[in-house]
Amino acid sequence: MDLISNLALGFGVAFTPINLLYAFMGCILGTLIGVLPGIGPVATIAMLLPATYALPPVSALIMLAGIYYGAQYGGSTTAILVNLPGESSSVVTCIDGYQMARQGRAGPALAAAGLGSFFAGCVGTLILAAFAAPLTELAFKFGPAEYFSLMILGLIGAVVLASGSLLKAIAMIVLGLLLGLVGTDVNSGVARFSFDIPELTDGIGFVVIAMGVFGYGEIIVNLAQPESNREVFTAKVQGLFPTKQDLKDMAPAVLRGTTLGSVLGILPGGGALLAAFAAYALEKKIKMKAGEVPFGKGNIRGVAGPESANNAGAQTSFIPLLTLGIPPNAVMALMVGAMTIHNIQPGPQVMTSNPQLFWGLIASMWIGNLMLVVLNLPLIGMWIKLLTVPYRYLFPAIVLFCAIGVYTTNNNTFDIWLVAAFGFIGYYFNKLGMEPAPLLLGFILGPMMEENLRRALLLSRGDWRVFVTRPLSAGLLVGAALLLVIVLLPSVKSKREEAFVED
């Protein structure tokens, strides 16, 4: 069977000692940073990207994938222990997880999160391996018109995730697209919006934007708040393992969360965050058993469901990236950047041209998941210690890593001036409630969208109807329109706002 032989090839690559080491390092770093409040996977990957330059491409991507999962796990640890989501997809975990911790049941909550995530990760890996090949077949049917429509669908999907105003999120995407166009136009060689600055003719580095807006921006926002707003809680974690009743309660929630997360992860724009929110909503809808703790008061299902969902979603969101080359969220957008740095053009050809890389990455995801369970459960005590590091030591270190990271990308001081500017812009965005995540997505897709629009219209001789007359393209656009309608429906709209109140 193809699936088996492919997975065998993958495990052959992933089980080399050096790749195991990088997967392990990625998991540790990711967990470490995911545990730190205020630094999500986006900033982490942006920060650690330069560290992977010197590695071979397979190892680099394996390490980055490890960081991604690690950040997911680490985020849930702080969400449960100190009510601080280390990253956005563990926001819902806070609701019931922290309540459990306050009742002295932090152990079962952490175990539920860890075991649920591991199960979801295993299923996600299998789905990824099984569906990657057929989806790649589909990808070869894609012409420029389909790609353009798919990107529209992806960007609209990203809007669903943004908190706050829909219009503002769309505007952020457009702004991102525009920023992505800065630099030399590939077709005409004209340097656009470069103001005769030689460094700008290569375009703005996405590491610069990511670190400026996310890294520096977040630090400035954090420091602008009074110190008392950063809550720290150092209760003893006792009794790691859940009781039999706990296991019985959480098992169906884990199954439901995994299913939901796997489906939502595949959709462009889905990913871990949406999966977690949807799973929590689903668990709340399911009828309570007699004597069960209500939601919001420490129900273990409220931890297990969303945590499984966000991990399954994290896993399957690699599908659109690896098969179509379309990043479904900001983290994946960074992975595209990482691939291009290593001279790999993400897309359907990766599977045939770099089978080692493709299947090696998939196999290492499962290994990464396993490592995370092994790493996380016994080391919880150590992670909590990290939280006692005062923020006043932490933030200069973060500023330093950002600055070094940006400089080493191009060995260019101009990028350092630029990142300072984007740091201020990040603060400005925050002040006016402008969500930066869609901007990063638009920024990555900008040049790709222009190129595909250009080709599609060239082939159709300037006829815009090409996007609706080709069935695949029309279907994708209908999907995008449906998403917009669904989000705008009053009932969903209020739910969505409710879900983001915690943000």
Partner: protein
């Protein structure tokens, strides 16, 4: 006329200005037409879309009521200033600044400057602590970036190493 949502009004204004600037800038390149797009086509289109979105957001902020006026909270300039300044000092010391004949001073000096300046962004600045922190970070960065990752960064000032 009252501004109903301050945040949205200024956000809309920002989009309008940036969109208009991009659209105006795009017209200085050849725009072309659908079938043969020039370098100005796509940015002109996007610039107009952004400006329109900005206008809608801004007008909505004038018309639609929101509870508590959605005020822009107070700007806190201290972290902005010190973070940006730390960053600039880092760049200047690391790369040197030929225009004022400042030679490159290398990574270690740049790290000390960055940590010393950025630490003042918080109001809990203690010199001794920050000096210890910057020494740890400098040593750590040296090990990680120079010894392990072998990045090509100048470590010591140019006038010492020659």
């Amino acid at each position: 006329m009252n501004i109903k949502s301050q945040k949205d009004f200024f956000a809309g204004l920002t989009y309008l200005v940036i969109g208009a600037a991009f659209a105006w800038g795009a017209t200085t390149y050849s725009v072309g037409q659908g079938a043969r797009m020039g370098p100005g086509y796509f940015p002109l289109m996007l610039g107009i879309v952004l400006a329109l979105l900005g206008t809608v957001i801004g007008v909505k902020a004038l018309v639609v009521d929101v509870p508590d006026g959605d005020k822009v909270s107070r700007w806190v300039w201290r972290p902005v200033f010190f973070i940006v300044a730390a960053n600039i000092a880092f760049g200047v010391l690391l790369g040197g600044l030929p225009s004022i004949k400042l030679p490159a001073c290398g990574l270690v000096a740049a790290i000390y400057a960055l940590v010393l300046i950025s630490a003042q962004a918080a109001n809990t600045f203690k010199l001794k602590e920050v000096l210890i922190l910057s020494t740890i970070l400098a040593a750590g960065s040296y090990v990680v970036f120079i010894l392990v990752l072998k990045l090509q960064i100048q470590v010591w000032p140019a006038f010492i190493t020659g």
